[in-house]
């Protein structure tokens, strides 16, 4: 299904310490694209300052890992697949996280979910923001998965999107945001609302 991309010399934006992370449940069809792509991302030819990790093991634990990271990650790129209205399956959106927080009751609800094993990129963003682990840049490469279906297979639309997903992640990691990315924005005080996406 996946083909290993050839390593090409590319202009490097900087040596920003970067983490590419994947978030998502297994065995939920297209929704499981991020964790299924994880091992492939690990095999990419990436500069030494770019690390790939799975971030499914609990936002609180991820926060503690970030707190122990010295020097800290300056750029974080999270691959996720969140169902959003008005998108076609396989559509790739790059969101920049603008920070800010929801009210404390909502943050506590996120910690409650997180401490008990719920996998959610929104929880991760909010809890990371609350505990101030996000430094300069946090991006979501968010791919539309469509409705949740049990199983290990992806739809053709999702399979077709994989090269573009990988290319987007690599560009973000190595050369940074470019003109083709059409950044959208997310922030904590609206992330759990219907119209969460800021354009």
């Amino acid at each position: 299904m996946l083909s290993q991309e050839k390593s090409q010399p590319v202009p490097v934006e900087s040596n920003k310490k970067t983490l590419i992370g994947t978030v998502g449940y297994h065995i939920l069809g297209n929704h499981s694209m991020p964790p299924m792509l994880y091992s492939h991302l690990q095999e990419l030819d990436l500069p030494v300052h770019v690390k790939v990790d799975e971030l499914n093991w609990g936002p609180v634990a991820v926060v503690q890992m970030f707190q122990a990271e010295d020097p800290p990650f300056e750029k974080v790129i999270i691959l996720c697949a969140v169902e959003r209205s008005g998108r076609k399956i396989g559509q790739i959106d790059v969101f920049k996280w603008l920070g800010t927080l929801p009210d404390e009751e909502q943050i506590q609800a996120c910690v409650g979910d997180a401490a008990t094993g719920v996998i959610s990129v929104e929880n991760l963003l909010v809890i990371g923001e609350y505990f101030k682990v996000w430094k300069d840049e946090v991006y979501l490469v968010d791919v539309e998965p469509g409705p949740e279906i049990a199983g290990e297979d992806w739809t053709k639309d999702m399979q077709d999107a994989i090269p573009a997903i990988i290319s987007t992640i690599k560009r973000l990691a190595i050369t940074g945001v470019d003109d083709q990315m059409h950044l959208k924005f997310l922030q904590g005080n609206t992330i759990f609302k219907e119209e969460s996406i800021l354009k």
């Binding site: 609990g58 609180v60 634990a61 404390e104 943050i107 506590q108 609800a109 409650g112 979910d113 008990t116």
Partner: protein, 624 residues
């Protein structure tokens, strides 16, 4: 004679038999829940009507459990309760037809916290079915792994999930009259935890900012670090296998574990001191809090932590090795021990689906167990999971949870059940750090930064929300001392050269092999019932603590434990207008069980147009 309701009697030699001359020995009455609903409707109509307006501070409802209550705010009473599991998880169906060795890895995913417990329960079920006896070090390391899992789980519940209900922020919003009293109330255990007044503790219980909240986050990390030394990863360990564990254990492993474990010596003292102070303050402030979440101490527990010189995995000897566990298996009915034998615990189990989204099964394949105990057609070994999604109706079916009973009684489960049974039964072998007195458990905690201390958890008069949490706090030093005792055993085994951690085995390709795993999640009772036929899983049934606690009504109308506890809860919250009602008393009652899933409660206030929605999130462990 442990059974009062099942048609099982015992002869003069103690051998169980099915009572004779009963036409349908396992028959039971099915009551019409519609009558209760009609009565409720009529009562409400006389007092006005219920209009619902969503009062919803939680914009995202991620629950697998919903709890519905009708509350009369004028009388301060709960009129009706229904506990609903809203998610079908289907592990029992996923596991059917698979290689038994898959069970540990797949069933581990039933929970985002207790994965290791499911994996171990699965391993125990296979060990019983196939006659596998792990080597001593394998048994001891599983014990340590489990104790450490509890050391992650209990602080998480006490400070991150339940703790905020007793924090200054919550109490100021729901019972502001308590704040000035808390400011004046001196702590009895200041020498241990350093807080002068109850209000000082309450402030540090505040979510997200309070020092006790933040400290608990740190302690969960300490426990996880210890856990991965043995389990490889958390929450789904890679090293738990039938026959033991699959990692090499050295002195270095043990040292890494000990350097984390020792931190729980002081933390256990501190935690028990804090919760003793907070709960005593509440109960002294208003004795009606004794009724918050109260129900009879009718509980079941599987017991945990096997003695390596007793455990052989066999069904034949399960009463012997069960009674040798550091925590005693068995059943309490209204605070009295009715059995500590695993075979009787197993034989009395049934699951009912009259108010659940499942079809009833027809077969009664296993009429007795290998010891001759009669088994009901509703016993897990006879059960078939047949999902039947349908409309939610309080009159009929309203949950994906089943109704498990023991001797036809709904049973409560919890960390506290293992402590209660062990303390009361006094059958556990002598321990270096624990003493069971019949009315209490004494825990001798060694010195670390704090001086050594003897802590004593006493069986309470009322079994309520506060006592559940208090007992859970004592489960921290209890678990730490079991871990320490096992750690010392592990050291001795390694010194003696007994370094084997697992026993090789093969899955037989012929015949039928039956077993059950009985182990305990942070929330208590967990069983996996397994039947292997021709090398593959023919039936796999899981009863989690939340299957027990969140159960819907029994066919004969008995409420499940959550339902009963909330029905008994008085509304002591203060509010000016019904719209301001937050439902804290009900939330405290439900959360005291440590409900094992993201649980959303819906509380409908009578005559108020008001529905309160609150999340009661704990672990994502599931029901079926």
């Amino acid at each position: 004679m442990c059974f009062k309701n099942l048609p099982v009697a015992f002869d003069e030699n103690g051998k169980a038999y099915l009572k004779e001359d009963i036409a349908n020995p396992y028959e039971y009455k099915v009551v019409d829940l519609g009558l209760e609903q009609d009565k409720l409707k009529s009562l409400m109509e006389k007092n006005g009507f219920i209009r619902s307006v969503d009062y919803d501070p939680v914009t995202r409802v991620a629950g697998a459990l919903a709890f519905h209550s009708v509350v009369d705010l004028k009388q301060g009473k709960v009129l009706s309760t229904n506990s609903m599991a809203t998610l079908f998880r289907g592990y029992e169906i996923i596991l059917k037809g698979r290689d038994p060795r898959d069970a540990a890895y797949i069933s581990s995913r039933a929970c985002g916290v207790c994965g290791g417990v499911h994996a171990t329960t699965s391993a125990l079920a296979i060990e019983m079915a196939l006659g596998i006896k792990p080597p001593p070090l394998g048994i001891v390391m599983r014990n340590i792994l489990l104790a450490i899992e509890y050391l992650y789980d209990h602080p998480l519940h006490l400070f991150l999930l339940a703790g905020p209900d007793y924090s200054e922020e919550l109490v100021a919003a729901t019972n502001p009259e308590m704040i000035p009293k808390a400011a004046k109330a001196k702590c009895k255990n200041k020498a241990v935890h350093g807080y002068d007044t109850i209000l000082d503790i309450m402030k540090d219980l505040n979510p997200l900012k309070g020092q006790l909240y933040l400290e608990a986050l740190t302690m969960t990390r300490v426990a996880r670090e210890a856990y991965v030394q043995i389990g490889g990863k958390y929450p789904h360990p890679q090293s738990v296998v039938p026959g033991g564990i699959s990692v090499t254990v050295t002195m270095s492993t043990l040292n890494e574990v000990y350097s984390r474990l020792i931190k729980f010596f002081d933390y256990g003292q501190k935690t028990t001191g804090i919760w003793d102070d907070v709960f005593d303050f509440f109960l002294e402030h208003d004795e009606r809090y004794n009724q918050c979440g109260v129900r009879p101490a009718t509980m079941a527990d599987t017991g945990v932590w096997d003695r390596p010189d007793y455990y052989d995995g066999t069904f034949e000897n399960c009463d012997k090795w069960g009674n040798a566990r550091w925590s005693t298996p068995g059943v309490l009915v209204d605070g009295e021990v009715v059995t500590t034998n695993l075979s009787e615990l197993n034989a009395g189990l049934e699951e009912f689906v009259e108010h659940s989204y499942y079809e009833k099964w027809d077969e009664h394949k296993y009429k007795t167990d290998a010891k001759g105990y009669p088994l009901s057609p509703n016993h897990p070994w006879n059960k078939d999971t047949i999902p039947k999604p349908g409309k939610q109706s309080w009159r009929d079916r309203y949950s994906w949870d089943t109704c498990p009973t023991w001797d036809r009684m709904p049973m409560e489960a919890g960390a506290y059940s293992r402590m209660y049974l062990t303390a009361k039964a006094k059958v556990a072998p002598k321990s270096q750090y624990l003493e069971n007195t019949g009315h209490s458990m004494k825990i001798n905690v060694p010195k670390y930064n704090l001086p050594a201390a003897e802590l004593e958890w006493k069986i309470p008069e009322h079994w309520n929300a506060f006592e559940r949490n208090r007992a859970r706090a004592y489960c921290i030093p209890y678990s730490a001392m079991v871990a320490l005792e096992n750690w010392q055993l592990a050291q001795q085994l390694i010194r003696n050269g007994e370094t084997a951690v697992s026993t090789p085995y093969e899955i037989p390709k012929t015949g039928t092999h039956i077993g059950f795993g009985a182990w305990g999640a942070g929330r208590g009772f967990l069983t996996h019932h397994l039947i292997v036929e021709k090398g593959l899983i023919q039936n796999y049934q899981i009863i989690t603590p939340s299957t027990l606690n969140a159960a819907p009504r029994a066919p004969w109308g008995a409420p499940g434990p959550y339902e009963e506890a909330v029905l008994n809860t008085p509304i002591l919250e203060k509010y000016d207008k019904p719209e301001d009602y937050k439902g804290i008393d009900i939330l405290r009652a439900i959360r005291s069980f440590d409900p094992c899933m993201p649980c959303t409660t819906h509380i409908m206030a009578k005559d108020s147009d008001h529905v309160v929605t609150r999340e009661v999130t704990t672990c994502a462990c599931g029901i079926e």
